[in-house]
Symmetry: D2
C-alpha cells in the first residue's frame, strides 16, 4: 500500500539510511546562535554546537568549544536554538468517522507517515502516540528509525487499554447503526487487538494476562483507561483499583512507563494511586475541581502531567457553543491547570492532536473552530501561547515542551536537552522565544539526529493535508 | 389525584383503620390446616393458628394450642398455610418509556397503589421496592401502614444511588431526543432527587454528604449502583471503593441495610468488599463466571443474595431472540445461580417486577415474552418454578420467599415466619406446596396482619391492569 | 372524561341553552359606538345595534334606528364595534409529540373546548378547524352549538384527506421508533379514519368512494393534501389531478367547500385547477415564486386565499435560525403575499394556530420564538399587524378577518358582517382599529349570538394554559 | 485513478482497438450449432454464422450459407447459440452506503468497468444503466466503445430525473446525520448534476429547460421519477403531468426514448399517459393491483415493460422477513407480472442489478438473501428462471432478454437478434435453452462484435468481486 523509501537530498546533507553520515566524514557545527539548551540554564550567547554523527559532541559558548577541522558549518548568527520539540500526546490517526475509516482502511501507514512529517516540519522531533492502530504505527515508527522515511521520532502505545476502537460506542456510537458490521469489526479489531472493552469484564488477574500479551507486541509505553469518554455521565470508572494496579505493574515489569486516561476526580485519584508515571489531560476532572489531596499525591509521587490548555480566545468561543454543564467542566479544567502550575507539578506539552479530515473541518461550528489545540502541526504552538496566558514563563514553557516530556517518558538520557551525548534534535528560530513564545513559530531550520530536514518537502505524500475537491467539480 | 380511602367489608372482617380489630374483640383462629411455618421445621399437621389483633398469639398442633373463647373460626381443614410471601425486589413503577411517563406524570401514587394490591392479591404480603420515585412511594407506603388503603406492606429505597431517572441515559437513552427537556427533567428529578448520576463526579466525602441527606428523607433501605445498566459495555463501574464504603457506612449509621446493583465480576466484588448486606441479581456477572473467591467472600460475610432465575422455557425462548454475547451472559447467570445454591448462599425470592404497560406488552418479541419474571403478580410464582428446576427443595424455596427475605432486610422479628408474636401474614393454599411448588398458585385466602383480604376486589382501581382500547374504536 | 355543562351567569345575560333568550323578552341595544360593519362601508358614528334573540334586528346611525321598548341597553359611547373575528384556519389540537398525545389521549374534547374558549376570549367568535381528530371536534362543536358549553363557533374538516396522523411520518417521523405501536396506531386512527395516506395508493375512483364516506361522517368542509409536509423535498405531490378532481367533486356534491394544503408551485396550480374554493397558506410555494399564471387563475376562479404572514420582527428572527434554503422559502412566501394583496386576491385571516404545549414552548429556540403566528389567541392579532406592515389598509384587514372568511366558507348569509338578520357576533373595542390595527387587542366586550361573553372566566377549565410544575417541586 | 488500456490476446482473436480486425483479414465462421436467432423463428439446426468485422454477414442452415475462403472457423457442433443477452436495467454502481462512497469516491470508473466486465463474462453483451453517476459512466462507455477496454456495451441515463443522489434522503436518509456535509454533497452532485430533487419545485417550463441541458450532456436515454422510493408512503407523485410531458417531449425531441420509475397505480398511469416508451419495474403498483385500464393503455401505446420477477424461492423467503404491508406489495407485483404476460405486454429482462458490496452482503438477513435478482452477473439467470416459473416459454424468455430489449431501446437495427447486418454479439451454450432455461448458464463462449471474449480474465481488475479481509487479520 505504501510507497517506497523516500530519499531527500538537501545540499550537503543527505537524508536516508544509505547516506547516514558517519562521525568521521560529517561533523557539523552550528555557530553564532543563542542556545536555550532546555536544562533550565540561562541562554548561551554566541554558542557553538558540534554534531558528530547523530549526536551532540559539544555545546557551549564559542570561546569554550573547539570546532573540528573539516566540519561543515551552519551559520546561525542572530538566531536562537532550542531542543527539538516533543509532543507528549498525539494521535497520528485521530479521526473516528465512518467515512474516514472507509476511505483510509488499509492506508493507515500512509496517513501516519504524513502526520509524522507534519509534526517534524513544525519543529516537533519526537511524538508520543497514545492511541492508534498499533501495527501500522509500529511499522512507520520502525521505518523512520531505520531511516527509510523521514518523520518525527515516534513512540507508540497502540490502544488505550480498556477502550473500544474508533467505530465503537465509546468513540462513535452512531457507527453501530450507520455502517456494516464486517467493516466496523475489521477497523475496530485493528485498534483494540486483545485489550479492548471486553477486558472490563475480567478479574484483575484476567486483565493482567491480556496486558502482558499486549506489551509483548512491542509497544513503547502503556496507556489505560481509568475513565471512559462521553460527556462524563457514562463510563465513570472502568477498571477496579486492583485491575489498575495489575496493569501498571505489568508495564513496570516490562520497563515501560504507564499512563492514564482520566476524566473525573475519582478516576484521576485511582490512577495516581495505581502507580502511574504520568497522565494525559489530568486537568480534566469534570465539574468538580481537582481535590487538594490528589494534587498533593501527584506531587509526592512525582507524577508528570500532560495537559491540554486552551487559549483564552478558544475558551471564550467554546463557551458560546457548548452546554452550561460542559462549560463548567471547561472552566474547572482551566482552573486546575493554573493550580497545577502554581503547585509545581511538572507539566508536559501535549496537543492530543492529529491531522484533521478536511470534510470534518469544513463541518465545524465556527464558534468551536478557533485555535484548535488538537490540530496537529499547530496545536503545540497554541499550547505555548495558552500556557503563557496562564502565567508560565517562556523558559518553563520550553522545558514543558522538551525536557519535561523526555523526563516523563524516561528518555532524558537521549533526548530533551541540548547536551553533549544526546541525539542532535534541535530547532533554529529566527527570533528569541524567551521574549515572546510566539517566536517558536519562526522556524529557520529543523535538525533531527544531526540531519537538516528539508521542511518544504514535507509531507512527502500529502493526503489529509490537501483540500478535497468541491462538490461536483471537476467532473471525474 | 388519588381517590379517598377505601374501606372493604368482607363478612366478619373489616378492612380499614377505623375498624382495626382489637385483640379482645376479635381473636381469630384458623384450624385444621397443615402449617409450613417458614422456620424450616417440618409441616405441622392439623394445626391451629391463633391471631389476636394483628399478631400471631399461638401456633401449633391442635392438641397443643388453646383456642380462646369467642374467637372467630376459619376452618382450613385440608388446606396448607405458609407465611405471607415476601418479594425482595419490586419496582411498583417499572416502566421507562416517554409515553408511560407522559401519561402518568402526577398519578404515580395511583399506579403504586394498584401494583401493591396486585402483589397482595397474589399472596405477597410484603414487598421491597428497590427503585422508584421516593415521595410517591412513601406516601402510599404510609397510607397502607395507616390502614387508609389496602396493599402489600411496602419498604422503599427510592432511587438507586448514582443512577439517572427513567427518562435519562442509563434507562432510556432515546428520551433525550424524543421528548421535551422540561418534561424529562421533571420526571427524572422526581426519581433522582439529590442522588442521581451527578454524584459520580464527587469525592467520597461529597458522596457521603448527599447520601446522608437522602437517607433522612425517610427511606427504608439503601440501594446503590456499583455498576450501571446497558448491555455491559457501558458504565462498568460507578463509584470508587472509597465512595462505596462511604455509602454503606451512611446506611449502617442510620440503621439501614445497604444493597447493591451489580452487573459484572468486579462490580460484584467491590460491592461485597464495601460491606453490603445483600445484593440484587447477584448472579449477573456478564460473560465471566462469578469467581470462587467472590462466592466465598459472600459466604464469609453472610451476604444474602436476591436472584432472578428464569424458567427453562424462558431461557430457551430468549436464546433465540438475543445476540450470542447476551446469550453468554444469560447462561453464565444461570450457572452462577446453581453454584450459589450449592454453596449455601442464602437466596432471596426477587421478581425485579412491576406492572407492565399494556402497549409495551403488545409490542414484545414473542420469543422473549414467555414466563416474564418481572411481570408483577406472576413473577414470584415463576421464581419458585425456576428454582425448583434448578434443584432447590420446595421447603428451601418457600423459605427463600419468606424467612430469608425477612432476615436479609432485618425484619425477622416481625415477619417471615409463622411464629408467636409475629405479624399475622399468611397465605392459605388449597394444595400442598411441598409436593409441588406450583401449588403456591392455588391461593385460598390471604391474610395480612390478621385481616382477610378480599382478593376479588383488588386492585381497587385498575389502571395498568385493564386493556387499552384498540385503535380507533370506540370513537371518543 | 369531560365535565358537565357549564352555565355562566353574567349580570343580565345568562349563558346556556336552558336560558337562551327569546326575541320577545330580551332585545338588547348597543348604543353610542362607532360601528365598522365589515361590509367595507365607512364607519357609522353614534350607531345603534338592536339585537333580538341571537340576531341583529337593526343597525345604523342612532337617528335612523328605533330602539325597542323594554330593551336592555349597553352603553358603548366612545367605543368601536367590529364583527366577531373569524379565523379561517385553526387546529384546536395542534401538537404532534409523543408526550402530548400520551398525556392527553382520551381527553381531546377537553383540550378542544379549552382552545375554543381561548379564541372566543380573544374576540374570535368563529373558527374553522382544518386538521384534527374528527369525532372529538364534532362533539365539542355540537355541544357549543347546543349551548351546553361556551366557545367559538366551530366548523371542522377532520383529517386532511391523504395525510397521516400526528404520530406518523408526515408529522412526526421520530414517533415510529420512540413510541409503542399500539399507542401510535390508536392516536393516528382517531385522526385519519378512512382518509389517511393509504388513499394515495388508490385510483381516483377508489379515492372518491372513501371521501364520500368521510363526508358522510359530518364534516363541515373538506380539506385535502395536494402536497405533503416536510421541508419540501418530500411529498411533493400526493394525489393525481384526476383524484384531486374526484375529491373536490365529492365535496361540492355534498354542498361543502373544498380547500387545499399546498406547498409548491405545482401543487398550488393543481389544486387551483382541481376546482378548490379556497386554499390554506397559498403563499407558500417553496423557493420558486408563485407563477403569474397561477395568480391569474386564482383571480379568475375567485378563489379565496388564507395566508399566514409573519411580522417583520419574526421573519428577521427566523432568518437567523433557519437554513439558507428555508430562508429562501420564507422570503418567497413574504413576496407572494404582497403580490396577492396587490393583485386583489381576497385574502383570509388564518392563524394555523393551536394552544401550544408549555413544555414545547419552553424548549423553543429563542430566535424562532417571537411573534408566533400559530399561538392561538394571539396569532390573529399578529396577522393584522403583519398585513398592516405589508400595506393592507385597516379596513381591508378587518374584512379579511371577518367578511372575507364568511364569504370563503359560504356563510355570508349568517356571519361576517354587522347587518340586519345576521347572527349577533361582535367585538367592542376601546380604541379605533382604523387608526391602528393594534387597537383590535383592546377588547372591551365580546358578544356571540347576542350574548355577552364573560371573558374573564375563559377558559373554564385550563389545561394547556396553565404552567407545568417545575422539575422536582413540589414533591408529589 | 484507473489503469491503462487492457489488451487481451486470446489465440487467434486480439482484443483491443489497435488490433480491431477488418473484414478482409478476419472473417470468422461458427459452424455446427443450433441457432436460436431471437426473431422468434424456430431453431436452425446445423447452422453457420459468418462474421465479417464486427457484424454478421450471414446466418442460416449450413446448406444455404457460403463460407468465405480463409475464414477462421469455430466448431460449435452440438452447441446452441443465442443472441448476446441484453439487460434492460442495471446500475453498474448500485450501493448507497456512506462507507461505500467514502471508500470509492474518485474511483467510480474502476467500479463501473469491473461491473461491465462481470456482465459480459456472464453473457450479457449489452447493458442499459438507468441510474448512476453520469460522467464516470460515459467515460467507461466511451472507452469500451473505442476498444480501450473490454466490457458489455453500455447505454446510460445518468440520474433519474427528479431524484436525489445516493447519500440523500430518497436513497439513504441516515446519511444526513452520519456523514459530513462536504463529502455528502460532493457525492450527490456527481449523481444529480442539474436534475435532482430541486427540479420538483419548478414549473413544467422550468423543468423542461434543465432536462434539455441534461440531455445535451450526452445521455443515451432518459429516465425520470414519476414516483419516489421509500416503502410507498413517501413521495407518491413527483412531477405534475404537465412536467412529465415536458420531460418526455424533450427526450423525444432529442431522439431518445423516455422511461419511468413508478411505484404505484397512479404514478404508473401518469407515466403511461405522459408518453413514455418503456418503464422500469412496471409491475410494482403498491398494495393495489394494476388497473385493467392501465394495462390496456400500455398495450395500446405499445409500451415495453421491464420487470423484475422473483423466483418462487425468493418470494417465499422474503415473505418471512418483511412486514405484512410489504408482503402485500410483493404479491401484487407477482400477480401483475402474470397479468402482463398473459395480456401480451412486451416484457424486458431487467435485473435492476449491480455489484454488491461484500460487507453489505455479509450483513444481510439470511431470509432475504436468496436468489438476489439485483446481484449483477447472476440476476439475469434468475430472471429467466422466475419467468419460466410464471409460464413464459423459453423462446419468449430468450426474446425478452434479447430482441425485446433492443426493440424497446430502438436499437433493433443493430442489436437483439442474429440476423445479417447486425453486430455480432452472441452466446454459445453447451445445452439447449429451449429445453431448460437454466441451460443459459452453461456458457461455452461469449462473442461481442465478432470478438471472442476471454471470460476467464474478467473482471480485469477485481475490486468488489474480491472478498474483504476478515477482522484483524492479517495485521497491516
Amino acid at each position: 500500500m505504501r510507497q517506497g523509501c523516500a530519499v531527500i537530498v538537501i545540499g550537503w546533507v543527505l537524508f536516508g539510511a544509505a547516506a547516514a553520515p558517519t562521525a568521521a566524514q560529517s561533523a557539523v557545527v552550528v555557530t553564532g546562535a543563542t542556545v536555550i539548551d532546555g536544562t533550565g540554564a540561562g541562554p548561551i550567547r554566541d554558542a557553538v554546537i558540534v554534531i558528530e554523527g547523530n549526536r551532540i559532541a559539544a555545546v557551549g559558548p564559542s570561546r569554550t568549544v573547539k570546532i573540528p577541522s573539516g566540519a561543515q558549518r551552519i551559520d546561525a548568527a542572530g538566531k536562537f536554538i532550542i531542543p527539538g520539540l516533543m509532543d507528549a500526546n498525539v494521535h497520528l490517526i485521530l479521526m473516528m468517522s465512518i467515512e474516514f475509516h472507509a476511505r483510509y482502511e488499509g492506508r493507515y501507514e500512509d496517513l501516519i507517515e504524513e502526520a509524522a512529517q507534519v509534526t517534524l516540519r513544525n519543529g516537533v522531533t519526537t511524538v508520543f502516540d497514545s492511541w492508534g492502530p498499533l501495527q501500522p504505527l509500529m511499522n512507520v515508527r520502525d521505518r523512520i528509525n531505520r531511516g527509510e522515511t523521514v518523520g518525527s521520532r515516534m513512540f507508540v502505545a497502540g490502544n488505550i487499554v480498556g477502550l473500544t476502537g474508533p467505530l465503537d460506542r465509546d468513540m462513535n456510537p452512531q457507527a453501530a447503526t450507520a455502517s456494516t458490521a464486517p467493516f466496523r469489526k475489521r477497523v475496530n479489531a485493528v485498534y483494540t487487538e486483545n485489550v479492548g472493552a471486553e477486558l472490563l469484564w475480567k478479574t484483575p488477574e484476567g486483565v493482567r494476562i491480556e496486558v502482558r500479551k499486549y506489551i509483548a507486541r512491542g509497544i513503547d509505553f502503556l496507556k489505560y483507561a481509568a475513565a471512559g469518554h462521553g460527556d462524563g455521565n457514562l463510563n465513570f470508572l472502568m477498571f477496579s483499583p486492583e485491575a489498575q494496579r495489575a496493569i501498571v505493574e505489568e508495564a513496570h515489569r516490562a520497563g515501560l512507563i504507564a499512563q492514564s486516561h482520566t476524566e473525573s476526580v475519582e478516576s484521576l485519584r485511582q490512577a495516581v494511586e495505581a502507580g502511574i508515571d504520568m497522565g494525559q489531560h489530568m486537568e480534566v476532572t469534570g465539574p468538580e475541581p481537582m481535590p487538594e489531596s490528589t494534587l498533593k499525591a501527584m506531587l509526592d509521587r512525582k507524577i508528570h502531567a500532560a495537559i491540554q490548555p486552551m487559549t483564552q480566545r478558544r475558551l471564550k468561543g467554546l463557551m458560546g457553543a457548548v452546554s452550561p454543564e460542559w462549560g463548567k467542566t471547561l472552566q474547572v479544567a482551566a482552573d486546575n491547570e493554573v493550580r497545577m502550575l502554581k503547585a509545581g507539578i511538572p507539566l508536559l506539552m501535549a496537543s492530543d492532536g492529529g491531522l484533521l479530515d478536511p470534510d470534518e473541518v469544513a463541518s465545524n461550528d465556527p464558534r468551536a473552530a478557533t485555535d484548535l489545540p488538537f490540530a496537529l502541526g499547530e496545536g503545540h504552538f497554541l499550547w505555548l501561547r495558552a500556557m503563557g496566558e496562564k502565567g508560565m514563563t517562556p523558559m518553563a514553557a520550553i522545558q514543558a515542551a522538551t525536557r519535561n516530556v523526555a523526563a516523563a517518558y524516561r528518555r532524558l538520557d537521549q533526548l530533551g536537552t541540548l547536551e553533549k551525548g544526546k541525539l542532535a534534535d534541535l530547532v533554529i528560530l529566527d527570533a528569541d522565544p524567551l521574549v515572546d513564545l510566539e517566536n517558536v513559530r519562526k522556524i529557520s531550520m529543523v535538525m533531527k539526529e544531526g540531519q537538516v530536514i528539508d521542511r518544504d518537502k514535507l509531507p512527502l505524500k500529502a493526503i489529509l493535508t490537501v483540500p478535497r475537491p468541491p462538490a461536483g467539480s471537476p467532473r471525474e
